[in-house]
């Protein structure tokens, strides 16, 4: 099957998904056309999922690669509290992957997009690369002035985190060790845990709910690890943070993997990536009502883990015994692994 037939097939699948009102022209021309409503702005973000960097086919299926690429892009919309509207995808793929694999990948993109009201309305396919690279650009709408930026945190704000960041990186550590035949001393992640890495769930519903009540003063999604991404937020806001390690939502699983590897128990919580949980700040008390709503309506925990300080750029952790540590904000750095 040639590229044009593959694209025609993908187009058929994509066109079965209804598009939102802002999409004036979708699949099939040189550009798509978007027209936001009078009080709206368009939020846009681009994100790549790269073979050998973000995944290996040893433990990812083509469907999961497409699904993850869409999910991580939608997560960027969630981090701004923007409502998804449409997506474009660009896929580079080696020639040894056939038409069925390309279509599975596209199905992962399209079905995940549909789940989040983010229909795929265009894209680009290049066969002959030496690795799979899937780049997704998402478009969302947000009421003018209502996007939640990284730059709004102020000294005294509380710092909150959704879910239990760290599981995704802990699962990855187990899978990688398994490939090297060294996983005897590591726990075996079950299917539900594995899906945290393979099919991460962007916290879109949570973000929109939080934006409607509170709202947060600043927000970011955790793709490179809490320390690194909170670090970006601190830098954008020109503030510091004081965290209480006793309040960290570290799962038993990520704690046990860290300990089996001789690392501190909160290692994956602080420095693991790819969970796509949210880290946010809000004035004291502003989110106390949201906590229960998030738990009830989304089944997602929201925990206060610290406070914003005026000590610009400084990230300090207080241990239960009162000991203070300054933390490197470095998370997953693609050049310094």
């Amino acid at each position: 099957m040639g590229e044009f037939e593959i694209i025609a097939n993908i187009r058929k699948i994509a066109e079965s998904v209804p598009t939102s009102g802002i999409v004036r022209l979708g699949v099939g021309d040189d550009c798509c056309l978007l027209a936001p409503g009078p009080g709206e702005e368009i939020a846009a973000s681009t994100d790549a999922v790269v073979e050998g960097v973000h995944f290996r086919f040893d433990y990812f299926s083509c469907y999961q690669v497409g699904a993850k690429a869409m999910a991580v892009a939608v997560s960027d919309l969630a981090a701004m509290a923007a409502s998804p509207a449409a997506a474009l995808a660009s896929v580079a793929i080696p020639r040894d992957k056939g038409a069925p694999e390309v279509e599975e990948l596209a199905r992962g993109l399209i079905e995940t997009g549909r789940r989040f009201d983010c229909p795929l309305i265009g894209g680009d396919l290049s066969a002959g690369s030496s690795a799979v690279v899937v780049t997704v650009t998402v478009f969302g709408t947000v009421e003018k002035g209502k996007a939640i930026l990284r730059s709004g945190a102020a000294a005294g704000d509380e710092i909150w985190v959704t879910g239990a960041p760290g599981d995704s990186a802990a699962v990855l550590a187990c899978l990688e060790a398994g490939l090297e035949g060294k996983n005897g001393w590591l726990p075996t992640p079950d299917r539900k845990l594995k899906e945290k890495l393979l099919l991460p769930e962007p916290r879109l519903k949570e973000a929109l709910l939080l934006a409607g009540s509170g709202p947060p003063s600043a927000m970011i999604d955790i793709s490179d690890g809490l320390a690194a991404d909170l670090g970006h937020l601190l830098e954008s806001s020109g503030v510091g943070a004081h965290l209480y390690s006793g309040s960290f939502p570290v799962s038993d699983f990520s704690r046990s993997v860290a300990e089996a590897q001789g690392r501190p128990p909160e290692y994956f919580f602080l420095h693991g990536g790819e969970d796509y949980e949210l880290c946010l700040t809000a004035p004291p008390g502003a989110l106390s009502g949201s906590r229960e709503r998030l738990e009830k309506e989304c089944g997602t925990a929201l925990l206060n883990i610290g406070i914003i300080t005026g000590d610009s750029g400084k990230l300090v952790i207080e241990r239960p015994d009162g000991r203070l540590e300054t933390v490197s904000k470095k998370g997953f750095d693609h050049f310094n692994k």
Copy 2:
């Protein structure tokens, strides 16, 4: 140097470029924010430049890869007659490329963006892929209802083409033959010809001028070869085409490369890709004034090469002796090289 420092450096270069009015928030958050004017729509397109598919480092510099990635994306805006407003880039790069090379690539992206009023306002860097993949998403503005689509051609319309498509693919054939030590019988492209491949010039000024006078009924940029891209236009419009081979703007260079390879003289004109010239249609006489203006104001030729027919999907070429040929619309197909 780590990823975050490289990104900080690129950000500094990018931030030195002024952004247009529709960009409400640029570099540095989870998303950029765009707010078009009341009578405007946003045109958006994503396009990838992939090592091993679109270029090799044997004859491309990092700067040229970045520049080409931006130019081909801007060309999609030109094809809709949209005015560039901003761009996002996603770069996947092997670890053996260092910080200077990443910054050269970013400089190519940013400087080319600036030339076309398309500032880079965000992106994504992944180091550790096995090939360089640069994906650029561009945003442009166009007056509501004024975008020139692929679907507007009607029987009786004239078919026009800018420049002399084919040179880029002919240059590529020479460079590839040179790498294999087999270029003795091929002409050596000079610097100006080489730049048609290495630093293609999107026909933006031309497209906006044409849209303001005429306007064209349909338009597409030629990235996969005239036959393939005109084929897309015919399919979208539900029409056919009758071309006169005697009127094809085939350069002496592309003719001589084709002949040296034992191919028909118009081979690269019809089936070569990567020129990013425009193919457009317009009612008879509508573009007669534009031809001279394009020549004078842009130094770009505009030639009438045929006529749209009601024979849906059929692409026929009439030879000077009156002989008729049906042409395959296949151009550069990434799966069927």
